[in-house]
Symmetry: C2
Subunit: 462 residues, 2 copies
């Protein structure tokens, strides 16, 4: 990487030298909100860098994985979303490095084009890179148990889910058939709960009508979590309600259960030792579960870029790989670098650090943008304050839980609230129309039609 | 492959021994129509084998490649389409061989499951395997210039098309920028014409609004064909109208032009020598065209399975790799084997062989099913007769040509007809609603939102 002094850097900006250059890394909830908030600001040039060309609505990714929605429904092209923001430029590229001294974002040279713009200088940097799946040191499990963080994850899970049904239909061996109709979801947070519920529904709706050999079979869905209850981030009352609903649908909920091994044929699990107990004593308590699909929803962690940023600035990195930010979501000693959303560890406002949910990212993105604009106007903003609007998870058709803090909802009312909120925050009017159409269709007919096996990998080694 | 004698084969069928077993290979227009026509037939068991789990509406595949529709919109899960057909079983698998003596379809063992059902005995076989892209001996061109036959083809073309725009935006080299904004479509049949029109539209709609560096650039779209006119299968009047419309949109139409070389950076083309002229004399007339995307719509050919069927039965194979069928679309000496749709060469009804269009496949699928049912009832049907309902191609927004034989239409009326017919033949009510919604949206807003770069390959080597 070249090192630039201030003079060289300034001359790069040519006719826009007067404008304050804001570079945003990541077009998720946080980054996109920051860009939109800065849209009308005079004297500010925004560059949004993302390695993908679309904003992904991650909360509905599990619906792509279970064939209810298709990828385009939960994705909006960043250029289209930001097309009217005349001060905003979108750059498709993967960030390989951040030169915090020279204030330059360096892009990986992937196109083989010697003239490609690979250095993006900034006056203010907003890092919104989110999180990736965390296999807790067992990255070799990733190909065996895909997570649910990207479109490709979702289509891969969808292909494996559907191939398991197909393999069950084609085999003549009852043991193989049972294994293929066994689905393991690791991690009982919102994503895991939603996944387990949706797999149960698709099996119940589809098997008896669409299959001949396995029409009378019942799928077995296991939802595992190392902790003592599902939806640990929710009110205990809602955890209990969700577990009751899941069990009512036929999901085997196993809390305090650890995954010890993952292989191509399934998982090995073990009851967690009681606190203070001897873990080794339970070694005989291991159980093998043959499964047609293992989905990993057990954890997330920060990106390597955030770790390198921590190393360069001295900002503390958490065990989860997120970086600890100041009260104004900047890094210590670097007021020009904001880290927002899932990538940031913010623990000023209350006792607990803020959760990794869309609302935190959205509010921090808006806040960071306002701080930038205020500074240029010579004003100061108070510290970031998170306004908790609650969290929700859907369990199945007309079943959900919603925790608004001051109020807990379950059942149909919570599901309606979930539906409304997700449509509201979905980016793009056309996407809302398409999603609503498909949800209505599914509600009436119980048919999930986005069931395409399209992963090349799945085709070659099903 | 095991060889089976008649007795063994019969005993395989156990309790359904009395039923006549029809096996259909391929769930395209022909195979699906055959299965649906046989739905209510008593005494007939149908097994539909396909290597994909969905029916693909190929005529709209170019709209997926250009971001107007998403894969699910043009695909319908075969199990869902056939869910009410109680006498029909769907089997996901790739046919590796057909034992015409033992009357067994052999599936490739891809799941690693020793107990998987890999042998499917038949009493009647309907082969409807369609065609694949034909590179005329230059299969090494396939990765450089993808065709448009599968969902994966379409998402690959879409990724390359969008990456070309992105690379043009990111480069600082004007020559590279021009190359990236040059798009070459090889083959001016319906698919090529539709592709060229759609690329021109997406560039015109998108560049000035969504890009900053290349906002004032104009994309260059070339439509090449070895023959003397576009849409050679249509009435000459319509060829002329289509060419006029394409040129009006800015497409460079080059007929009588041969592609001599394809590489990662573009193509080398040459004017076809005049009939009787010396081809070598024009060697200096070669021209190199640097391009950001090359799409192959130049030709199609039969599958290896059809070639092996020809070798086994002695039915003549055409140069295109299709098999010549009898007047009742069966193979000579094998009244139990039907070959229908694109895979069949049928030249009885008129002077010219039937074209490779959906209507031929649909009508032959219905006919084959009726012949099977009639035979069981001890009746005979007259030879297959194709009822030509015409063909159509769309050139752009509100522009199309339609050839009904007795009447030719162009412009808005033809486009409305095109729209109506395609919605009518699209499989699945939900798909129709979704497609209509998106077409209406596009018609009003000129926005194609299914513009996701999702191909892993494109991500790694853009």
């Amino acid at each position: 990487m070249n090192s630039h002094d201030g003079a060289t850097e300034k001359s790069d900006a040519d006719e826009t030298a007067a404008a304050h250059r804001v570079v945003i890394i990541g077009g998720g909830f946080g980054g996109l909100t920051a860009a939109r908030t800065l849209a009308g600001e005079k004297g500010i040039d925004v560059t949004l860098v993302d390695k993908r060309n679309f904003h992904l609505f991650q909360p509905l990714l599990y619906q792509v994985a279970t064939g209810a929605l298709s990828p385009r429904d939960v994705a909006s092209p960043l250029r289209e979303v930001l097309r009217r923001n005349k001060n905003t430029r979108v750059l498709l590229g993967e960030v390989s490095d951040i030169d915090v001294q020279a204030r330059i974002v360096v892009l990986r040279d992937s196109s083989g084009d010697a003239a490609a713009q690979n250095q993006v200088p900034y006056d203010t940097l907003i890092v919104a890179t989110g999180l990736v799946s965390n296999y807790f040191g067992r990255d070799d499990w990733e190909p065996l148990a895909p997570g649910l963080k990207s479109i490709e994850d979702a289509t891969e899970v969808r292909a494996r889910l559907l191939m398991a049904f197909e393999n069950a239909e084609r085999t003549t061996d009852p043991a193989m058939r049972r294994a293929m109709l066994t689905f393991v979801v690791v991690g009982a947070g919102a994503t895991g709960v939603e996944m387990a519920g949706a797999i149960t529904e698709i099996a119940a709706d589809t098997l008896p009508i669409e299959f001949r050999s396995i029409a009378r079979e019942k799928a077995r869905v296991l939802l595992l979590d190392a902790g003592p209850r599902v939806l640990a981030a929710f009110h205990e009352k809602l955890s209990a309600a969700a577990e009751r609903d899941l069990r009512g649908m036929g999901v085997e909920v196993r809390t305090s259960t650890l995954v010890r091994e993952v292989d191509e044929g399934g998982v090995v699990v073990e009851r967690a030792a009681a606190p203070g107990g001897d873990a080794a004593a339970s070694a005989d308590g291991r159980e093998r579960i043959d499964a047609g699909l293992v989905v990993w929803a057990a954890g997330v962690r920060g990106t390597p870029l955030v770790a390198s940023l921590s190393a360069k600035t001295g900002a503390p990195l958490t065990r989860q790989g997120t970086v600890t930010v100041n009260e104004d979501v900047t890094l210590p000693g670097h007021p020009e670098i904001f880290v927002i959303g899932d990538a940031a560890h913010f623990a000023h406002d209350g006792a607990l650090p803020l959760p990794g949910v869309a609302q935190v990212a959205i509010q921090q993105g808006r806040y960071a943008a306002r701080v930038v604009a205020s500074r240029l106007a010579g004003q100061n903003l108070p510290a970031f304050h998170y306004e908790d609007r609650g969290s929700m998870a859907t369990i199945g058709r007309a079943k959900a839980v919603a925790d608004l803090g001051w109020m807990q909802m379950t059942g149909f009312v919570a599901w309606l609230a979930w539906l409304f909120v997700h449509l509201l925050f979905l980016v793009g009017y056309e996407n809302r129309v398409l999603v609503l159409t498909q949800w209505a269709w599914y509600y009436v007919w119980r048919r999930r039609s986005a069931r395409l096996i399209t992963s090349r990998q799945a085709l070659e080694t099903p």
